[in-house]
Structures are given as C-alpha cells and as structure tokens.
Subunit: 271 residues, 2 copies
C-alpha cells in the first residue's frame, strides 16, 4: 500500500471508485453522473445555467517551463463552451517556452489583468517562474475577486504559496500532494476537488476531467456534456496504471524511485 494517502482518504477514494465503476457497469449516463454528483452544485445538476448571457472570462495563468497538457486539456473543453472567453497570461506576456522546449502563446502580461471570472493555474515540475513575490501577490489579487479559483496538477502549490488556499481542500499531482500542507492547504487525493469557489484537478491529465467539471459549473451540465461528446472524451487507457494505489508494484516502485519523496506525496517541485 502506498503511503501517499492517509487511511481515511484512501477509504473515500475507494468508495468513489466503487461508485464510479458501478455507474459504468449500469451503463446509464445519469447513473455515471451520480459518481461525481456530490462535486457539482445544485444549479449544475438542474442544468439551469447553460444560457447565462454575460461571457465568462476564464484565465489560464501559464509560465516558462510549465507542462503543456495541464492547460491544453481543460482549454480544449473551455474554448468550446458557449459564451466563455478563454485567455492566457504569463509573467512576461508574449510567447512562453514550456517544459521540453515547446513554445505556446500568445499570452497577455499577467500584471496587466485586474479581474477575471475564473483563474486557473496549471502545474509543472519547475514552478520557479511563478514563485516571485510580485507574481504571487498578483495571483492572490486575482483570486480574491474571481468567481472560481482553480488549478491543475502542481498549480495548486502556486495558489497555496500565494496564500489563497489556507484551510481549503485541494487536489494536486499525487507525487506532490502533501507539499500543500506546508502552505496550510488540505491535500485531497481526489481527481477533481471542489471546496466552495475553489476547484482543482489532480496530475496533468486530470485537467480534462477538471475542465468538464468546471465547464458544467459555469455553463451547465448540458453544455459540458455536448463538449465532452465533441472531443470524444470516452477514455479507455490501455493499461490500469494511472494512480499509485492501482499501478502494478514494479511500475509504481520505478516511479517512486524516479521522483524522490513521491511515495509520501512529498516530491519537491522546483520553487
């Protein structure tokens, strides 16, 4: 048994997994939805917010050495949701060189933006570009007035370092999850976590699940499901190795070795 998750949390995770598998076996969309129904607010379940008139300003705060898929996943959902304006910003603005040397843009300059409806901070191994005091201060400022404060992967460590997740439950990449405690946030190993106006996804690929969930929050379950069908999000991983509790032991142990401290959820990001 992995030591990443404490026992209470493992039990919750398993219950979630059982509910989800049961729902999948039953085959009905409504039943599948029950597995995460607890995550979604009443207005979403009722499907009544799909036709809101004011465009939602959704900001991805990206940065040098960031992980592309952390935001490319949810972007593919949110950029197809009606009446939602997806924007990108970075510390310096312009084109951003991400992890592995790929370039993405264009981005606005983060400090030029005063207010958005949703801020989403994606993750990376190297968070150093965001850890400067003036950047964290601006992230905190945007977070104070945003309707939703969100993250994917280790982006939650940036939000936590900015001081906006104190006492809040948050997801994170499993290998880094317990680093959140150092900033007063409450690590939650679920793939999608919602705590009031704070929503977060787990590691990298969890951004897609998060993207569908926040799309439903913003524009209703019908709109979110339409986009899920548009991007054919019916995942069928060829192996069952996507989390440390269920990966084959030799796979899990190889990754524990690759990411020192990850066995305890205490892999260090570059800060």
């Amino acid at each position: 048994m992995s030591e990443v998750f404490d026992e209470t949390v493992t039990e919750e995770l398993s219950a979630y997994g059982r509910a989800r598998r049961h729902a999948m076996l039953m085959g009905g969309a409504a039943l599948a939805a029950t597995a995460t129904a607890g995550l979604l607010s009443e207005k979403v379940r009722a499907g009544t917010v799909g036709k809101a008139e004011k465009p939602v300003e959704f900001l991805f705060a990206i940065y040098p050495n960031g992980t592309l898929l952390d935001f490319a996943g949810p972007n593919e959902i949110l950029s197809r949701i009606p009446n939602t304006n997806v924007r990108f910003a970075s510390p310096a603005g312009g084109l951003v060189t991400l992890e592995k040397g790929v370039v993405f843009g264009p981005t606005e300059k983060l400090s030029d933006i005063d207010k958005v409806d949703v801020i989403c901070v994606p993750g990376a191994l190297d968070l150093s570009a965001m850890m400067k005091p003036e950047i964290l201060t601006h992230i905190r400022k945007l977070s104070e007035t945003a309707q939703y404060v969100t993250s994917v992967c280790t982006g939650s460590i940036i939000l936590a370092a900015a001081g906006v997740l104190k006492g809040r439950r948050s997801a994170c990449h499993w290998a880094f999850l317990n680093v959140l405690k150092e900033y007063g946030a409450i690590p939650d190993p679920a793939r999608i976590v919602k705590d009031g106006r704070f929503m977060s996804g787990g590691g990298v690929t969890a951004g897609i699940d998060f993207g569908v969930a926040i799309a439903a929050e913003l524009r209703g379950a019908q709109a979110a499901q339409e986009v899920q069908l548009l991007v054919q999000y019916d995942p069928q991983p060829p192996f069952h190795a996507g989390n440390p509790l269920e990966a084959p032991p030799n796979v899990r142990d190889a990754v524990y070795k690759m990411l020192p401290g990850s066995e305890h959820g205490l892999m260090r990001p570059i800060l």
Copy 2:
C-alpha cells in the same frame, strides 16, 4: 441507436466495453490490460522492447488550424518515454497558428524531413493546409519508410487522402468516421486501432489513449505504464457522454445538429 456505426462494429465495440469494464471491476492491472491486449503485439505484452538502444524519431506533422489537444495529449506521453525523440514539423516550419488562434512551435519544415521512425498526423475540422498535392505526396513518402504510420482524430483523413490507408482499418473522430471510406480506408469506431504498422486514435482526447498504446509498442509496456503514472492518467469523466452510443439523447442530438452529417459519421471536414 446512432447510425454512425454499422451493427457488426457496434457488437465489437460493446464486447470491448464489456471486457474493459469487467477488467476494471476486477481491479487488477494485468486484467485491465487484457481488454486491449489484442491490440498490442507479442513483444509489447512480453515487455521486451523497453531498453532498445537506437532513439525512436517520432514526428508530429502539424499544420495551421489544427487542434492542439490532438497532439498535446500523445506528446505528453511520448516526450517522457525513454530514448524517444519527439519532433514537430509543419508545411511552412516555424510557429504554427492552430485552431482558436493559439500559437505552437517551433516546428521543422515538413519537406526538409526525409525519414522518421513514426509519423503521427493529428486532426482538426479544417484540414485544408495539409490537402495540397505536394504536402500529401510528402506525407506518403514519409509513410512508406516509417516503422509506424499513425494519426489522431481526423488526421486519418489526411493519411487516407495521401493514399496510404487503402484497405487499412483506421480510427477517426466519430463524427467524421465514414469519410474514410471515400479514400478506400476501412472506418473502425474503436478508440485505438492497430492494423499492422498503422495505428490510430479516435477523436481529440483519444490521442492520450493512443499515446500510451504506441509508447508501449515502441518502448514496452513497463515504460508506457510508468509514464501513465507520471501523468496520473486515471481518467474519471464527471459525465458519461463521450461517445454517441452512450451520451444522453438530448446531448447527442444537440451535437448531431451542431455537426451536420455526424449522425451518419459523415460530417465534412474543410478540405
């Protein structure tokens, strides 16, 4: 019942789904792997190719107006696989402006590349940048000598138009699937399709499943599963709406209306 898939194929799809769900219920990684074991070659199942010494040259052939996630998904897997050199090329080289105006790069100029081990053509609604005779000729040339010829989403329509999929089974985005027939390819609604040295993924997000599967082909099941754990690929969609056979009817019908012809897998891409 959707008319996208003919009945034989629907039966195969259901059998696959049942096997997969059974495997998930049983909870074991080995059992989960059985669901797609038929897709993977003997060397992958035996896990004997993980330490090959020659780097694999893996090329994403991208283009203006392409869909970011189609290649950002598999790239996140393949760029983490040992001894694999991921490259990007486009018709003009340099930075490429994708769908929704996002810019990605850098890319090599496609015509400057003579040979790669794997060519992967991602998809889009607008395929026109790749439909020029000289580009299709170059795609065909690279495909003739590649070890694997691959695609995600409607990228298979580009490969088919280049004449390299005649008589081959291929995946495609469900809404466009039957367009493949017009080029002599055999539409296959599975999420990951392997026909000899031809491998393909379905629509957009299927690129991640495809990425894990081709990583296993190239570098072994152990390496592929380690990366699956690194990117926490344990998908948990909040809704069950990712394919037209299982999406709620109101969701499916709204998307059928959005994409004319998609009910019969005959939505027209821009060519």
